[in-house]
Amino acid sequence: MSAEPNTYYDRRGIIGTLGRDGLIQIILVANTVIMLAPILIMLFSAFKSTQQIFKSPFGFPDFANLTNFTKIWEQTNFLRYLLNSFVVTGASMALILILGTMAAYALGRYRFFGAGFILMFFIAGLTLPLKLAIIPLFILMRDMGILNNQLSLIFVYTAMGLPSTVFIMTGFIRTLPNELEDAARMDGASEARIMWAIMLPLVRPAMVIAAIQNVVPIWNDFFFPLVFIQNDALKTLPQGLTTFMGEYTTDWGVLFAGLTLSAAPIIAIYIVLSRQFISGMTSGAIK
């Protein structure tokens, strides 16, 4: 005997039809589309002239049309900017990760007087809008004689990146099992070796999170180079590409081409690191 299919409790809702996982899939697919659309539009626009962009903003471009890219190559110091961006971002990231990890290791693994205060001090840095301090910073850089010098950018970015790095890493380092440290100590490892050979390989996932978190804003930063750097040979990519943003007219096609080129390395780094990140997450801890 079959039940009446249309009683209200037999009607299947959207969750009943698709299942909970199906619903989540739909949301994830929608999210992916929303996230990727701007990137695709940027990529398409890089192959269009300004006129075409306004005529058919979502139209499919002619990928053989490389005029925008050749224009960038010919009219700007693109390679120079790219190199500068690499130098500034690379040096800042190196400093952030080295100093941040060392600070976090000390805060996370050793108990000493004032540790809580130091951690709070770092975390307070998260709440600080650094851009408000631009005038004192400018004066500071001038007095240190590193205005119009990439060191000024590297210092500011390092200061900007340390709070979140220390915050992320301290939390992560604290969760590492004490027994690993004890085992290494029984094996005769010095404190430095315990950190370097045992603990750091295990915090790599956290370092990747901290790196991704910091590398994007630093790479894309426009504000600090604009204030600190005047010399064209020292400009970073975002700053250099503004050549095409005129006061009255803007060559959108070229700008999008520049954006595409400048975003490419970051996207590549992200893809490489996220692989690492996933493998780090699954590497299995102690039991």
């Binding site: 099992p177 027994e179 690993l180 004890d182 085992a183 290494a184 100590r185 029984m186 094996d187 005769g188 490892a189 070796r193 050979a197 045992i198 390989p201 295990l202 590497s283 299995g284 801890a285 102690i286 039991k287």
Partner: protein, 356 residues
């Protein structure tokens, strides 16, 4: 050669005193098990011996040398941790090589030692695997292998079997016993499981609340427990501890039942505690027979044996070993009789054993 001597060891964390003066001597090649309930200080004591925590007061002497301020790796001691603490990013070979290299051994020496440990523990096929690719028992063997490679004089094992399932546990237990015979080092083993303690130990150290309650061979602890704590801790099911009144020729139970005894501790009449193991009791359904009144609480059937738990009139739970043929129902009234020779006497005040 490894002789350990602990003299008046005390340990406190900030204001909490964890160990209150431990005195213990451990001989060469001895297998000593620290046993006690959680929080009794047995793992803390092991960490003090390892050198992972500083000793607050007292002296730890190894082979006539004071060890209090010697760093862990220089003590000639290796430790196997409860969670194994294998380095997750190194394969089995590297896990074992890490400590050996830090000892300053040459490459062929390291290789030879690892090969030897791997052969002893049957780890050869696993050398290139990572800890996450190993089963619990295999990880356990790697952890032991890592200790072996350092060729220590003293092995410390901190609840090494607690993460294994029951079947594997008895297997690894045999393995550890075999290993001890084979390499002959001094072993100190911490567990809260009295079966492990009884089966492995040359001597058992029973600890409670930061103090040693009794030290002795398994048989000694079972047959002559020094106090009510040891009496209740060693043996399963637990020894029943019953409060009674001593009279001139026997004892009187709370319910008024009396028992005439030929041997009694030398003391005046008054309160006394007796301890009786499950196999010294016997049960009778005949309520007119002499003995002690009790009612059945529940029965545990174990195949070969059955344990009947009964409650005396004053509420004391008494486990009785019976044969599975006699089945008792809950709430059934029974009479308990006891083998007088198997009664342990303890002081009612401080729980000390009283000779009879």
């Amino acid at each position: 050669m490894a002789r350990l001597s602990l003299r008046g060891i005390k340990k406190s964390f900030k204001t909490a005193n964890v160990l209150h003066g431990i005195d213990l001597d451990i001989g060469d090649r001895e297998f000593v098990v620290f046993v006690g309930p959680s929080g009794c200080g047995k793992s803390t004591l092991l960490r003090l011996i390892a050198g992972l925590d500083p000793i607050t007061e007292g002296e730890f002497v190894l082979n006539d040398q004071r060890m209090n301020d010697v760093p862990p790796s220089k003590r000639g001691i290796a430790m196997v941790f409860q969670s194994y603490a294998l380095y997750p990013h190194m394969d089995v070979y590297e896990n074992m090589a890490f400590g050996a290299r830090l000892m300053g051994l040459t490459k062929p020496e390291v290789e030879a030692r690892i090969a030897e440990a791997a052969r002893m523990l049957r780890l050869e096929p696993l050398l290139k695997r990572y800890p996450r690719e190993l089963s619990g028992g295999q990880r356990q063997r790697v952890a032991i292998g890592r200790a072996l490679v350092r060729k220590p004089e003293v092995f410390l094992l901190d609840e090494p079997l607690s993460n294994l399932d029951a079947a594997l546990r008895s297997e690894v237990r045999l393995e550890i016993a075999r290993l001890h015979r084979q390499i002959g080092g001094t072993m100190i083993y911490v567990t809260h499981d009295q079966v492990e303690a009884m089966t492995l130990a040359d001597r058992i150290v029973v600890m409670n609340l930061g103090r040693i309650e009794q030290v002795g061979a398994p048989r000694e602890l079972y047959e002559t427990p020094a106090n009510t704590f040891v009496a209740g801790f060693i043996g399963s099911p637990k020894m029943a501890l019953v409060n009674v009144q001593k009279t001139s020729d026997g004892i009187t139970f709370a319910g008024g039942d009396t028992l005439a005894l030929p041997r009694l501790p030398a003391m005046g009449d008054g309160p006394l505690k007796i301890g009786v193991r499950p196999d010294a009791w016997s049960l009778s359904r005949d309520l007119a027979s002499p003995g002690i009144a009790a009612s059945v609480v529940y029965t545990e059937y174990l195949g070969e044996n059955a344990f009947v738990y009964t409650r005396l009139t004053d509420g004391t739970l008494v486990g009785v070993r019976t044969t599975p043929n006699e089945l008792y129902e809950p709430d059934e009234s029974v009479r308990l009789s006891v083998d007088p020779v198997a009664i342990h006497y303890f002081s009612a005040e401080d729980g000390r054993r009283l000779p009879a």
